[in-house]
């Protein structure tokens, strides 16, 4: 197993905890609205020839909350400063769900910050059809179950969430939910200006979506495709909101091919 390390950086005027692992060209990863779930098989495979930089979102338990960050746009601004200070730019990025929203906000403000973008079931744009699932008035259990198409036949999902929950895990989830609500409550997990701000973006972009996604509807993908010139869509059959653990092989194949093009 690849060795990972967690570092607390003093960066962009704040503290930021970044998890690092792998070898090779940097690849930035933005986790989703539930927080960093742990090093999974997709991380392990991709990290063989890429160094993963995974910032742990402020307010999610490890990186201190930034009171001045009040929207995803603010958060994206902070992350952009951090990426520039780390001299990572232009860097490839993968953003999951709300992490995709963050990446999209970053590219909208700084079109040269990413060399390639993979947005996996990204939030951030109001879907042309359907609604982004409201994750706040439901229990954690309902939310988690909704993220995958078939919880009982998804080994990595059961590995993550199948055991008894410790008080620490409960707290971490509540931290993540509270912070996601704080910055994504209204407008709900999207920025109405973002489609306009993304106009003219030409960064090579891959939009990944599972056909059984119950959290982010296809309408979000369609909107991103419209907004980002040349964006491609990779659809993975019979998986939900977390293709990286529901069909890890297919996911890694698609993403690796795109990143190595």
């Amino acid at each position: 197993m690849i060795k990972t390390s967690e570092e607390t950086l003093n960066i962009a005027g704040e503290k930021l905890v970044i998890l690092k692992g792998g070898a090779g060209k940097p690849l930035l990863i933005f986790h989703d609205e539930l927080g960093y779930p742990g090093w999974m098989s997709w991380n392990e495979t991709i990290a063989h020839d890429r160094t993963l930089f995974i910032p742990l979102q402020p307010g999610y338990g490890k990186t201190p909350k930034l009171e001045w960050v009040r929207t995803y746009r603010d958060l994206a601004g902070f992350y952009s400063q951090a990426v520039r200070e780390l001299k990572l730019d232009p860097v490839d990025v993968i953003g999951y769900s709300a992490g995709g929203f963050i990446a999209a906000e970053m590219i909208a403000a700084d079109p040269k910050i990413f060399s390639k973008m993979v947005l996996v079931a990204p939030m951030g744009l109001k879907p042309s059809e359907g609604e982004i699932m409201d994750i706040f008035p439901i229990t954690m259990r309902t939310h988690l179950r909704a993220t995958v198409a078939d919880p009982y036949n998804t080994p990595e999902f059961l590995k993550l969430y199948g055991g008894e929950m410790t008080p620490e895990v409960f707290e971490a989830f509540e931290d993540a939910r509270a912070e996601s609500a704080r910055i994504g409550w209204e407008p709900y997990m999207h920025n109405p200006a973002l489609p306009y701000l993304l106009r003219g973006t030409r960064t090579p972009t891959l939009l990944v979506w599972g056909t059984k996604d119950r959290v982010v509807p296809r309408g979000c993908i369609d909107e991103y495709k419209k907004a980002i010139t040349g964006a491609r869509v990779a659809t993975i059959e019979n998986v939900g909101h977390r293709p990286e653990i529901e069909n890890s092989n297919e996911f890694v194949k698609i993403v690796s091919r795109f990143l190595s093009e």
């Binding site: 954690m140 409960f170 912070e179």
Partner: protein
């Protein structure tokens, strides 16, 4: 001591089964709304509150909730305005306006000032954070709940006291032109009494401001603990807390006979009662509770009730068959337990008097507010309960309160008794009777 009357103004026409099947009152579809019955009851409840004044209750208390049939008071200030005009003597206590979910403190300052003016200074303005479910109903960001609460409160105090016009640029609220031409009748502003369910953060805030804190039917032991916490905080602020700093709201129903009272009193559990105000996912929205409260919850044995576990992950909760009769059956032991713990007081005047006296002795509240029965109880029985409380119980309670020196927040301004540094404060509750009651 002041005695108050309070009702949630329950929707009485909804089939209980609908609420039980929904798993709580919040989010029951308003397709069950009946305008004729609602019109009747809005008028009836105003009349009932007028009857409370006629019976010499000192206080008429109102509250509001949103999006459920538990409480018809959706915009309590409207009812308070009507009562301000139609009553003559009773104080109008609002328990309370949910500042974080209203999100418009300037408008709130104006509404309350009008109520105070029309009543010629009989308003007591309470504030609450709003139930968890109400953050969803009003789309109020729960992560900012406490910030909204404190900023809105501070703004209202300024709007009532600082001559305008002035401009306000806060964190959450912004006003170009603050200059309300409706200012409170009471100077500098109406008293503020704060109801709660024992959140230490709120209690600390109340003590800092010397606002009376009202326990909403909270368990006696923990309430005594919080009273002590309040009094210790008060001492840090240089004053001695006493009965004027505390109030208590207690579900109570009285009938001529024990049997009738017990039969109708069960309606406190109508639709599952207060404990089923809203389903868990609506009760604790993300960010609504402090980190300390979440940590405490996480370490409770049932801490994972909101979360996940191996077993719970396997439960197909959405497919579970709901049996309203079985749920109802399960509520009965809770009904008996709550009475034993004096969380619910139900009976004839004879059996109720000792319990209410015990509450006064233990918690030493300056004000006691009677919370009337829920559910489809006929008007006549509701009024019988009010009459028996007012005529047969109130005089005994007032005498008892006098004998144990219970002073209310109108007789003595909370915070007025300075505490000299180095002296210790006096007790604010008396746990002694808890033992006799088997509640220690």
């Amino acid at each position: 001591m002041k005695l108050g009357y309070f009702t949630e103004r329950p929707v009485r026409w909804i089939p209980e089964e609908v609420i039980l099947r929904n798993g709580g009152h919040f989010a029951v579809s308003n397709s069950y709304f009946d305008r004729e019955k609602a019109a009747d009851d809005y008028n009836y409840y105003i009349d009932e509150n007028l009857y409370a004044e006629e019976l010499a209750f000192d206080i008429i208390a109102l509250n509001e909730h949103h999006g459920n049939p538990f409480c018809m008071g959706s915009v309590m200030n409207v009812e308070a305005g009507i009562l301000a005009r139609l009553t003559k003597k009773a104080r109008i206590l609002l328990i309370g306006n949910p500042l974080p979910v209203i999100k418009h403190p300037l408008r709130m300052a104006e509404e309350l000032a009008e109520i105070d003016l029309i009543s010629r200074g009989r308003l007591i303005s309470g504030w609450v954070r709003g139930a968890g479910s109400e953050q969803f109903f009003n789309n109020a960001n729960p992560s900012y709940n406490r910030e909204y609460f404190e900023e809105a409160h501070d703004f209202i105090v300024q709007a009532w006291t600082r001559p305008g016009p002035w401009r306000y640029e806060g964190k959450h609220f912004h006003y170009r032109h603050v200059n309300p031409w409706a200012l409170p009748y009471q100077k500098p502003y109406p008293p503020m009494w704060i109801p709660g369910t024992l959140s230490p953060e709120t209690v600390r805030w109340c003590a800092e401001k010397a606002y009376p804190y009202f326990g909403l039917g909270t368990s006696l032991g923990p309430t005594c603990d919080l009273w002590d916490f309040y009094a210790d905080e008060a001492a840090k602020h240089g004053y001695e807390a006493g009965s004027e700093n505390f109030g208590y709201v207690l579900p109570t129903f009285v009938a001529e006979t024990e049997e009738r009272a017990q039969e109708l009193g069960k309606n406190f559990l109508f639709g599952g009662g207060q404990n089923s105000f809203a389903r868990p996912e609506h009760t604790l929205p993300p960010g609504y509770n402090s980190k300390e409260a979440i940590r405490k919850l996480a370490h409770q044995p049932q801490g994972s009730w909101l979360g996940i576990s191996g077993e719970k992950m396997r439960q197909q909760t959405e497919d579970v068959e709901i049996d309203p009769a079985a749920i109802r059956e399960k509520l009965i032991p809770g009904y008996q337990r709550a009475q034993k713990a004096i969380q619910l007081v139900i009976g004839s005047p004879k059996s109720v008097i000792p319990k209410l006296k015990a509450i006064l002795s233990v918690l030493r509240p300056g004000s006691l507010v009677i919370f009337s029965v829920q559910g489809p109880v006929p008007n006549k029985d509701r009024q019988t309960s009010m009459r028996l409380i007012a005529q047969e119980i109130m005089p005994v309670l007032k005498e008892h309160a006098k004998s144990i020196d219970l002073v209310d927040a109108i007789e003595r301004k909370p915070g007025a008794r300075k505490l000299t540094a180095g002296t210790s404060r006096r007790p604010v509750s008396d746990r002694g009777p808890l033992k006799e009651l088997g509640l220690a």
